[in-house]
């Protein structure tokens, strides 16, 4: 045998070993980290665990927003190529509408390849039963239960509690900016309006992260780590469901808003904007048809009239005018004025008539001027104060600025000033300067000024409480699922500089409104002291005054206002009621306030029983472990014999 071939054999053997040593060194030393990561990725998968969104309850624990269980079916699009056929088969077991298919198509466009896409949500019990008994037909269909937001009072709280909906692209940008994107999954719900939006971070909780070990087939074989989800907190509001329901009901077919505030705390007792809408419509993305309906609705249900709608305040402006005039020294408390039914700016011929027919009211002091709602008195006051002093004095009552309520998108309203007018009418040489007539109009709450019902309620609460105030808020307490209070809302005590004596004078005038003035009919048989002021805000200035208003169409009818507080000595509630196109304040708005006051101040008993009987209340889980034990024992009771051995254990 030749030497060469023996050498070749040795060389071959050595070469084989060297090649293999190098190759395995390359994989096990050079590529080790990379391949180790891949092996970890292979077997570990991260499963997010959803936190339970906190509920929203009223001051007495009545549930205003909660979670309910909904059954849905979902598929992985990559597993179901022939979707048409799947739908066809499904149709014999569940009710699939064209809308469901459209929704599916929409979701499909937004989802990633490996996401589950919901085919139909809110399955009925029959549908669930049908499907589960034929589950073998749909091996790639996932029937699952998930929680959905539930609003038991539907539209009554649409503008305060708001609603949740799926995270949109726009939400995503906001979450990115806030750095909280990782707390949401692709199809998660997020607060879109009202308190649901404002307190999103409190209600949401934090997502949990479970890392599980899976085998090659994706079966879970173990738990690597578990970071449990933190459930969201429940919000307890200052709102009172009984009053809220009552206010909504009393508005009847009118559009309007009712905002009531506890002057001692700033807590909002009632926040109604009517009409509302069904927040449930938005849950899974509103359908174009529903959206169109809401948009086209002449009644504009999407407008939050309480915090966003602005209206001229009409005569409800007068008490604030009075306080401001006294404070700024434009008038003395002893000032008297002879109301002859109209007012003429000196050196002009234009007459400003008293509303309601221009009746002369005779000589008036502040108290009677407010009580009888003399326009002439306030026309002159407006002129005498002038725009600058009105601006200064009325802004003390927060008119023309945001109240800072814990709701998104509050309107500032408009307290006009010289500068504002110059800017607003910059292109109109005649209008650009502030006119004396502007001041006259403003004196009775007409003209340029516009405020939200919330601002009016807030201003009333400041007045009611002798200038001491807390900013309005809806949140009272943040409580965890066991019912213990995590934080309590503490507002800052603030005070306006108007001397108490002046405010007392105005309040006396307002109390007289209920006794001898424009609100006397409403003030009959009061069992507590009440102070108020009616207002009738012109929607359009009719050429010959409001006498002709009754001939105009409904939508040109005046807005009816009423502000009030009670009891006068130590007010527990201050309210602003606005009834759009309701006509006189005394007829439309004032009775609503009176009814709410009666319920709140007198009807404590009936109030309590109403809550107990009709509404579902928040029940805290007193103690987690105790609760579990309770569950265990009840289980044992259910099938006691079978579980006996376990009990002994």
């Amino acid at each position: 045998m030749s030497k060469l071939r023996i050498v070749i054999a040795y060389l071959f053997v050595c070469l084989v070993i060297v090649i293999l040593l190098l190759r395995y060194a390359y994989l096990q030393i050079n590529d080790h980290q990379d391949l180790l990561t891949k092996s970890v990725e292979n077997y570990s998968s991260i499963v997010a665990t959803q936190p339970v969104r906190g509920g929203i309850i009223d001051r007495n624990g009545v549930i205003l927003a909660d979670n309910r269980v909904s059954y849905a079916i979902a598929i992985l699009p990559k597993d179901n190529n022939n979707i048409e056929e799947l739908f066809k088969t499904l149709e014999s077991y569940i009710n699939l509408t064209a809308l469901d298919k459209k929704k599916y198509a929409k979701q499909l466009r937004q989802s990633k390849n490996y996401d589950w896409v919901i085919v139909k949500d809110d399955l009925s019990n029959t549908e669930v039963a049908n499907l589960t008994s034929h589950a073998y037909l749909f091996p790639k269909l996932n029937i699952f239960a998930h929680t959905k937001r539930d609003y038991p009072f539907s539209e009554v709280y649409s503008h305060s509690v708001g609603y949740v909906s799926r995270v949109s692209q726009m939400d995503k940008k906001k979450l990115d900016a806030a750095g909280t994107t990782q707390n949401y999954l692709a199809n998660d719900y997020i607060g879109k309006n009202g308190l649901e939006q404002k307190y999103e971070s409190v209600l949401r909780g934090t997502i949990g992260k479970k890392i599980i070990r899976t085998d090659a087939h994706g079966n879970e074989v173990g738990l690597i780590s578990n970071e449990p989800a933190n459930d969201g907190y429940t919000l307890q509001l200052t709102l009172d469901n009984v009053l809220q329901q009552q206010a909504y009901k009393l508005l009847g077919n009118h559009k309007g808003a009712v905002v009531a505030i506890d002057p001692q705390t700033g807590g909002v007792l009632v926040f109604v904007s009517k009409p509302g809408y069904d927040p449930g419509l938005f849950l899974d993305g509103i359908t174009p048809e529903d959206w169109e309906d809401l948009q086209q609705d002449e009644r504009n249900p999407l407008l939050n009239r309480g915090a966003q709608g602005t209206y001229p305040p009409g005569s409800t402006f007068k008490p604030f005018m009075s306080a401001a005039a006294l404070y700024l020294g434009v008038r003395t408390p002893q000032y008297r004025y002879n109301d002859i039914g109209y007012f003429v700016i000196p050196g002009s011929s234009r007459r400003f008539h008293n509303s309601g027919g221009g009746r002369a009211l005779g000589t008036l002091d502040f108290v009677t001027a407010i009580a009888k709602s003399s326009d002439a008195f306030f026309f002159k006051l407006g002129l005498d104060m002038g725009v600058d002093r009105m601006d200064k004095g009325l802004s003390l009552f927060n008119l023309g600025s945001k109240t800072g309520i814990d709701l998104p998108q509050e309107n500032t309203g408009l307290l006009p000033s010289r500068a504002w007018k110059a800017k607003r009418f910059a292109k109109d040489a005649y209008q650009v300067n502030w006119q004396a007539a502007d001041s006259v109009n403003m004196g009775v709450g007409q003209g340029f000024n516009h405020y939200t019902p919330l601002q009016m309620a807030f201003a009333t609460s400041i007045l009611a409480n002798d200038g001491v105030y807390y900013r309005p808020h809806l949140l009272d307490k943040v409580i965890d699922k066991s019912g213990s209070v995590v934080t309590t809302y503490h507002g800052t005590k603030e005070e306006i500089p108007i001397p108490k004596a002046y405010l007392e004078l105005v309040k006396t005038g307002m109390q007289k409104v209920m006794q001898i003035g424009t609100g006397a009919s409403i003030g009959q048989g009061l069992r507590y002291t009440m102070a108020g002021k009616t207002g009738t805000a012109q929607v359009v200035a009719l050429a010959a005054g409001s006498r002709h208003a009754k001939f105009a169409g409904e939508k040109y009818k005046d807005h009816s206002w009423f502000i009030a507080f009670a009891p006068v000595d130590k007010p527990k509630i201050a309210i602003a009621v606005l009834v759009e196109n309701g006509g006189f304040g005394a007829t439309a708005a004032a009775p609503i306030a009176r009814a709410i006051f009666d319920t709140y101040l007198l009807g404590a008993e009936s109030h309590e029983s109403m809550n107990a009987l009709r509404y579902k209340k928040f029940t805290p889980r007193v103690n987690e472990s105790a609760h579990d034990e309770e569950e265990d024992s009840s289980e044992n009771n259910d099938n006691g014999e079978e579980n006996e051995t376990f009990i002994q254990d």
Partner: protein, 369 residues
């Protein structure tokens, strides 16, 4: 002729004394390692490896028995062994059991793979033919040798089992090589194969083409054909230097590696014992190969030389192809890792080869002294 008890004892002692114990202990250590690896690969179910242990013991005994037979007797029976294996292969093509589209097995009470038998019978007959005359090998002997190789090669390739066919061809080729097959023919053949490779490509089945393509770019089909290779490489690489520890391989125990106890068994070792484990097993393989080459080198007649050379080179080729394919340098072909892969026929055939090797060593060197 009667021998005293003492003489008998002496003969028995000399018989065992003359074995190549380095080789035997190397093989035994492979068996021990195999036991541990199979236990891990079979999800620590002891009963699942009983069968394999049985094969190991059985094949070890066969090796010792064959080692005791004079290799000249084995050489003498080359023709009947070859004919029997040919008949079995033809039978496979006719009545074989079809698994995954390939007809490779005969069901004779137990399932056997006759193509494995050719790994011994082919080189045996070629060596027989080439050593028919003591003088230099004649051209007709080479021609006949090539013919002896090509018949079973073609039959096995038709099963189809290209992996085994190539190994059978290689086993025969090594005999020709060590017998002095002229370089011009070797080089000429290599050039011919390269030139005809496009033609061979066309002759390959789709799945075979796929395997080759997948080797070039495993990521092109990560869940399909590339899955084996990718997962194998992950298992090996994730083991690192020290490995994840015995029974702690995630790739293996979470079933990411199919065929982890057969062709991909090296991944178990590489993942759980790391590069150190790989080095250990390669050292043992190197030792076995070097002992085989030593036996070849010390052999005194042509049959012994070429047979020892073929057995040794085939053995190291299996190691090369298996570990190369699992680590992604060769296409995936069905070649088990010698004595470590869970095996029936393959283990027995390998051990028969080592039996012949020991017999050559034993009877060639010591009996003649």
């Amino acid at each position: 002729m009667k021998h005293s008890f003492k003489t008998r004892l002496y003969r028995l002692w000399r018989y065992f004394y003359n074995f190549d114990y380095v080789l035997i202990f190397a093989l035994l250590s492979l068996f021990v390692i195999n036991g541990f690896i199979q236990y891990s690969a079979n999800d620590q179910v002891l009963t699942r490896i009983y069968n394999d242990v049985g094969y190991m013991i059985f094949s070890f005994i066969i090796m010792l028995v064959i080692a005791g037979i004079n290799y000249n007797r084995i050489r003498a029976s080359a023709i009947p062994i070859y004919i029997v294996s040919l008949i079995l292969i033809v039978l496979v093509l006719i009545i074989g059991v079809k698994v995954n589209g390939a007809r490779r097995w005969l069901n004779l009470g137990m399932r056997i793979q006759p193509s494995e038998l050719c790994k011994i019978s082919v080189p045996l007959l070629v060596a027989y033919v080439l050593s028919a005359k003591p003088m230099a090998v004649k051209a007709w002997q080479f021609t006949l040798g090539i013919l002896i190789i090509l018949i079973p090669f073609a039959l096995i390739a038709k099963q189809p089992d290209l992996g085994t066919a190539i190994l059978v061809f290689a086993a025969g080729f090594f005999v020709l090589f060590f017998a002095g097959l002229p370089w011009r023919i070797i080089i000429g053949s290599i050039i011919l194969v390269i030139c005809s490779s496009p033609l061979i490509w066309h002759m390959l089945k789709d799945y075979q083409k796929h395997r080759v393509l997948t080797l070039i770019d495993p990521q092109s089909d990560p869940l399909g054909k590339g899955y084996h290779i990718i997962q194998g490489m992950i298992a090996i690489g994730s083991g690192g230097i020290h490995g994840k520890g015995y029974l702690h391989g995630t790739q293996i125990h979470l079933n990411f590696i199919p065929e982890k106890h057969t062709d991909f068994v090296i991944t178990v070792l590489a993942e759980e014992f790391g590069y150190i484990g790989v080095c250990v097993i390669l050292s043992i393989y190197l030792l076995v190969a070097l002992r085989g080459l030593r036996i070849m080198r010390l052999a005194t007649d042509r049959f012994s030389q070429v047979m020892a050379g073929s057995i040794t080179m085939s053995f190291i080729s299996y190691v090369f192809i298996n570990m190369g394919m699992v680590s992604g340098i060769f296409p995936v072909v069905g070649v088990p890792l010698p004595l470590i892969s869970y095996g029936g026929t393959a283990t027995i055939v390998l051990m028969v080869g080592f039996g012949i090797l020991l017999s050559i060593d034993h009877h060639n060197r010591y009996d003649k002294v």
